[in-house]
Symmetry: C2
Subunit: 449 residues, 2 copies
Amino acid sequence: MKFNLTRKFIDQLSALIKEDKPNKVLGLVRDLHCADIAEIFEEIEFKKSAYIYNLLDDNLGADVLVELDDDIRESLLKTLSPKEIAEDVIENLESDDAADIVSDLPQEKKEEVLSHIEDVSHASDIADLLKYTEDSAGGLMAKEFISVKTNWSITQCIKEMRKQAEEVKFVYTIYVVDENNILKGTLSLKKLLFSNAKTIMSDIMKSDIIMINANKDQEDVANVMNKYDLVALPVVNELGQLIGRITADDVMDIMKEEAEKDYQMASGISDDVESNDSIVEITKARLPWLLIGLIGGLIGAKVIGIFDIEKNYEMAIFIPLIAAMGGNVGVQSAAIVVQGLAGGSVSIVSMWSRLIKELGVAIVNGLICSLIILIATYSLGYDMAMSITVSISLFAVIIFAALFGTFVPLTLEKYNIDPALATGPFITTVNDVLGLFIYFLIGQMILGL
Amino acid sequence: MKFNLTRKFIDQLSALIKEDKPNKVLGLVRDLHCADIAEIFEEIEFKKSAYIYNLLDDNLGADVLVELDDDIRESLLKTLSPKEIAEDVIENLESDDAADIVSDLPQEKKEEVLSHIEDVSHASDIADLLKYTEDSAGGLMAKEFISVKTNWSITQCIKEMRKQAEEVKFVYTIYVVDENNILKGTLSLKKLLFSNAKTIMSDIMKSDIIMINANKDQEDVANVMNKYDLVALPVVNELGQLIGRITADDVMDIMKEEAEKDYQMASGISDDVESNDSIVEITKARLPWLLIGLIGGLIGAKVIGIFDIEKNYEMAIFIPLIAAMGGNVGVQSAAIVVQGLAGGSVSIVSMWSRLIKELGVAIVNGLICSLIILIATYSLGYDMAMSITVSISLFAVIIFAALFGTFVPLTLEKYNIDPALATGPFITTVNDVLGLFIYFLIGQMILGL
């Protein structure tokens, strides 16, 4: 059943740990899902987490480790010897989770752990997986899957599957390969269950399969599985040989990660921070963006300084308006492009048609906003020259910001830099500065600063 | 195999449609995945999409409809009669996809379509699903699942399953219910396949199941499936009776949707826009946020107007700096809280401890930034009083923005309003205005405006 973590539960647990009542503590957590226990660990002090972890049986403990945040997991692993990690943790995990844990260990500990794994094929599977970068299809896949040969009958299959299924937690699809291990088709368990015992695999398998190369990026994996509504995706090497499978639960994690990354970039937070990280960690993730803003502000000051603001101090009054609108429009344009690129929908539309469309939107928005501001300023009592200056500047800034906001992420993407970098403080800051420049330039022409 | 949509392919397809060569057109698309055909429809004119749609066999056509964007789907459905929709589309779809399509139809067409569905149980399943709101667990679930009784043997199960499996596309889990249809356990196909034929369900089923109530929000569905790494989630009613199941592919769609929504809010785009929407649609989604910025700018102008800027026109020079920094800090704080709330990690940490932590981060960032700005302005040649004014104001604005940025989303959440509303232009605009007020207030105290 679904568990709801409450303050009361945490307090109760903490009290029992303080009184050193291991049996009662274990009684509280033993029947929880590993993801729930991991959630508890993230809410209590590390010492208490370690206390609970040591009470758990190896299987549950290993599953909890997989679910934990990197920092707590790392601390817990530090308390274990390489032999304990190998025997209590790694041997209880599927290859992909095991590889994730091993890959986070320091180099020398990594090798020692691998050498302590008794199941040689498990150890070699893990060593295999460690060759791939963490954010590639190969880094995501598990080595546990069911594969059968094209010329086998259903009876043969079921016999072979009994052996293989031992180590595979969930079976969603059966992969059919030829004698060279080249992936030829897939078969659902449903079909296996309801076909005649003598049927040969190649006659009932689905040969129209979607697969992915192990070197592809995790974002591609997520896009493919999402687009084709897959719960499992087979991974092949350059030769087309089946080497692993990725399941939907891993992809959900990636999707969350990628979405958070883009969101954080747009909101000016670098790195992966969470709301329960320490003050120093949070500061480190945010300060860089603030410094960009700071430098932008200083350059903005310089720009204003170029012009003679003393004579036309009224221009100062609309600085926030111009700066804010430039920033808003720029971020909007950039966000649409970033999202389009991530979802793949901008891919075949050319950069030019994209820029032209943004220009269209900017002209409509710009005209509406400029008209409103012209009427507003004039009716607020500013003279016509000033009102026209603000209105024209606003229009120019909106057009500029829209094009700039579109152009930057598209250019970043072209040079294989994450286009999401373009959103957030970066666009806002550059827009602020250039927007001010445009504003004062127009002011100079109309008002003669 | 994975298909890559190219400009060349589109051109080739368009040319064949223009020459009215239905067989050649069909030859190009017939073997594509429905998701790929949907992608093509989104890149070509509607008339051409309709041409292709009419060539597809009903089964593929129905699948393509499910994958399409709402606007193209709606246009295609308008070309079909209620009878055609019922017989060619709805009868070929699982209940959840069918319900999604029916729910988008105008009321009178909806009833007519339902009346034309020949399979009565399918029609009543769809009518059932239409009762739930689109973004609830009930609105997401499908009625096609395999359920067996607790006291059945494996042999009995397989016999019953053959009947049920007809209409279920993918079987991941078998649900075990009691005589009142109350969900009691789950069984994997793997276990079914490898257990003794006489075993009774209740002896091998997993009784520790995660399920969700049909009235829960889709965000809860995504959180539960993601947290517990599930590929299928059973849906129950208030009595605990099994009424449907949700699969991981639906959840991936929701996750994408929710992430896009938050991202769009943070970047100031209301509604669900995509980069290939029309100029009018895009404008409509963006203008509201720009108007907020516009009003903020006008209020900002009013604030500056209160103070005598003529005498201290130098203060104008740092307006962009103060405004930008306030906006940046506010959005950062709000984004962290919004993300924490979405992921559930802020849930048990109280509002106060959250505010205190943000205060800590703000003090550190504020001190660093203020010190830098003090040194920078003084060395750029501004007098000490001015430099101190800017520096103190910056510190005050950073502290204020951090607290404001934290407080607003937490308050919105408390009153069940989407906290993501707090990010983006809203926070930036309010921060701009209040930041300016703080700046000039401090300026008045130190410089005596």
